[in-house]
Symmetry: C2
Subunit: 211 residues, 2 copies
Amino acid sequence: MKVLIIGAHGKVGHLLIGELQSHNIDFVAGLRSEEQIKAYQANNIPTQYIDLTGSLDDIHDSIIASGADVLVFTAGAGGAGYDLTMEIDLDGAIKTMMVAEAAGIKRYIMVSAMYSEDRSKWEASGIRPYYIAKHYADEHLRGTDLDYTILHPGLLTDEESVGKIKLSKDGGSVPRIDVAKTIVQAIETPSTIKKEYEFASGDEPIANVIK
Amino acid sequence: MKVLIIGAHGKVGHLLIGELQSHNIDFVAGLRSEEQIKAYQANNIPTQYIDLTGSLDDIHDSIIASGADVLVFTAGAGGAGYDLTMEIDLDGAIKTMMVAEAAGIKRYIMVSAMYSEDRSKWEASGIRPYYIAKHYADEHLRGTDLDYTILHPGLLTDEESVGKIKLSKDGGSVPRIDVAKTIVQAIETPSTIKKEYEFASGDEPIANVIK
């Protein structure tokens, strides 16, 4: 098994590197700039250039070159503008799904968001376009024949690991480090295929919830 | 037959009113503000309030209240910001499709754009987020059981009617008034159901092309 982290320079992606290392899972960090690649290589982290705003052919070449058989999508435009939200979180994500299907790479872990299926929460959030992008990327993924798992964490924080979560459709926060741990749990648990999990910090071991 | 023009205050929507009138097709102008409604009513144009950023329930109520059995989607955020492009052109459009399916309103005419299926043209266009929104709205429509027709006009102009078009996947412009005429042609031609047309001004009568 080899994991390509799509969005390895993001906060969750960066934390995922450490989790994969501690679980001895082979991986490669997908990065969009030479500057990021140099910085990661200086820390002996294996890297793969991938630009989600690029063409399908270029994304195909990047994913094949990575040698990965598991894709983790944890990229996002963040606050860089809703043009990039559409290009990264929506179209960028779907392009990686199209490449995965074409290349026969079945396993795909999507880091989505709590409320991506609950329109009633979008308007008051102040970031409705973000939820729209995540919603339609998830919808596309469900329509593929990929072995997907969709994770829907609540409000992300930079706090230390709680290491325990609970299923929650309506509120709650979770440290990004624990999101990284749920990704590893999903990667290691084939029974999570074709399932989705809305979750926040709680009092259950992650392995008891993501199963 | 009664047509609801979703986006009747837009340039194409406004021109469509005159075309429907001259063809004696019953219609109602879908508008998003009381100000627009007052202005149209002052001209004896039947109106229906509809806010594409509203909830599914509210959009459902608006569409049912219109009494329409044909929906024409010609709304768009235009240059108002890519947050609204996501909320109107993508999610707003799809919400009207969801309502149409739930309400059993089968006929749906989508005004899309040339190149919405051709990613190679998006980047250089300078309006890639617009194409992303149109692309995924169209994709969703194809997956519904609606009796859709998708029109993909080339570059829209405000010039006078040529009255003739041609199929074109790669370039060309077309006056908005002729797009309005193609919409009427699609409405009046059941054999256009489940079909898509990429077109620009040309030398064929519209009825010879949209058939």
